[in-house]
């Protein structure tokens, strides 16, 4: 049996592992690289194919764990950087924008729970809203803008509109702020 045969036999990463978003919160960000290197060096010396394939499988798992940890940390950073940009907003208002209750948001920012993909998607969209907004408005005016009624949002404030599930309208509104004006 060759090393390349070994992976499908043991299943490797594909052997019934749940989606990484479900388990990333319990992974250890500090998984050391050294054991993997040691196992790979053992692999090169080994004449026992079974031991080799176990080593490969363990190495792949460790790499996956590292990747999950890195992604979880990356999500946490993206979320907290977005929160930093919401100048003047309270934590409760930020939770409304993110679409989660404040205690859940608190767990996200403290790394006590992994930010799920659905929330990350919202974070990316809100980030674009803020980037567009800050092209035309000082960042210090962010909270005031979020609380101001806007006719094109049906006289709702962006904060209310987003909390009621109309993020797309707010995205369109802020894209419009950056669109070039054509004079006839």
């Amino acid at each position: 049996m060759t090393v390349s045969d070994a992976k499908p036999r043991y299943g490797g990463a594909r052997r019934g592992l749940p989606d990484w978003a479900d388990v990333a919160g319990s992974t250890n960000p500090g998984v050391p690289l050294l054991p993997l290197e040691l196992e790979l060096s053992l692999l090169s010396d080994s004449t026992d194919a079974d031991r080799a394939e176990i080593a490969v499988e363990a190495g792949v798992r460790k790499l996956e764990n590292l990747l999950r940890s890195a992604q979880a940390l990356d999500r946490m950073v993206s979320l907290s950087v977005l929160l930093a940009g919401l100048q003047g907003c309270s934590f409760d208002e930020a939770a409304l924008l993110i679409g989660r209750e404040p205690p859940i948001l608190e767990k996200f920012v403290r790394g006590e729970a992994t930010v799920p993909e659905r929330v990350m998607n919202r974070v990316r969209r809100l980030d674009e809203v803020l980037r567009n907004l800050h092209k035309v408005l000082e960042p210090t005016a962010t909270a005031k803008w979020l609380r101001t009624s806007i006719p094109s949002l049906g006289n709702e404030s962006p904060l209310n509109a987003i909390s009621k599930g109309n993020l797309r309208k707010v995205e369109e509104l802020t894209r419009g702020y950056c669109a070039p004006v054509v004079h006839s």
Binding site: L79, A84, V109
Partner: protein, 291 residues
């Protein structure tokens, strides 16, 4: 209203002896602040005013002679120093797992200090959300100097004799240091007054050393026991604090409290001065300064 040490003119001193002002707000530990990831949002939030960030860690080494002759190394949690400049900083925010602090060697006026503090607390609440403050403290360290002071006894001409006490007497030998600490309690608030003549080493390098100690909560004067030269400076270190819980997002209530602390400290500062010192510090009525 904080402790009142008597009426005084509302003035700004041209030669203000202020070396450090520091406000520290403690909260229950937030362990995500041990890593860069946990600090990222906060750092981003204040980066426009405080662009320099560095991580400081301190290790304490203790030698135990008895019974095991062991060496103990204690690693303290990191403190994130976020400043407006790398070396010559005027403002610095410190963030650790259980506190945030704002400090400066000098400010234009106290409103400026409070406004910066409110801004830092706003970002902290949104990006870290630490919950309630469990201790809030304001510390002001003054270092008096006067050209006519040639020995520690001379301070009796410039500062209240009650403060100078034994250091103001003619004593045999050379005075190496004279430090006093007074604690005043007012409900759940407390004012600690540390003052006296420090050894010369304590003043070199002056404010940096003091800032380090201010953060750690140690006494202001690093008594170098091997130093046998007395300083001609006089230190007045005022530390006002409360353990009443405050919500960190209630920045207005916290800044109101800090202002009360500051007013009490100013009141004590005026109380401590003799007329000659007051005059030498060149007081200017505040309303003339704002003009």
């Amino acid at each position: 209203m904080g402790l009142d040490f008597g009426r005084h003119e509302d003035v700004v001193f041209k030669k203000a002896p202020l070396v450090t002002v520091l406000c520290q707000i403690k909260f229950a530990p937030v362990f995500s602040l041990l890593s860069e990831v946990g600090v990222a949002g906060f750092q981003e939030g204040i980066r426009s005013k405080y662009p320099i960030t560095r991580r400081e860690e301190a290790a304490q080494i203790q030698l135990h002679r008895q019974p095991s002759n062991s060496i103990e190394v204690r690693q303290s949690p990191p403190i994130w120093r976020i400043a407006d400049d790398n070396e010559d900083w005027k403002w610095r925010v410190s963030l650790a797992v259980d506190f945030v602090a704002l400090e400066t060697p000098a400010y234009r006026d106290f409103d400026d200090f409070l406004s910066r503090l409110r801004w830092v607390l706003d970002v902290l609440d949104r990006t870290v959300h630490p919950g309630d403050a469990i201790r809030i403290g304001l510390r002001k360290i003054n270092q008096f100097a006067h050209p006519d002071v040639e020995s520690p006894q001379d301070w009796t001409k410039f500062l209240r004799s009650e403060m100078i006490s034994l250091a103001g007497c003619k004593l045999p030998g050379e005075l190496r240091l004279s430090l006093s600490e007074v604690h005043l309690k007012e409900g759940m608030r407390a004012l600690t007054i540390r003052h006296g003549v420090p050894p010369t080493s304590a003043m070199q390098p002056t404010d940096h050393d003091m800032r380090e100690r201010t953060n750690s909560g140690d006494n202001v004067v690093p008594a170098n026991e091997h130093d046998d030269t007395a300083s001609l400076a006089y230190v007045l270190d005022l530390d006002y604090s409360t353990t009443i819980p405050y919500t960190i997002k209630d920045e207005e209530a916290i800044s109101e409290l800090i202002r009360e602390f500051s007013d009490s400290m100013t009141s004590f500062f005026h109380w401590s001065l003799q007329p000659d010192m007051y005059k030498w510090l060149e007081p200017i009525p505040r309303n003339e300064v704002t003009k």
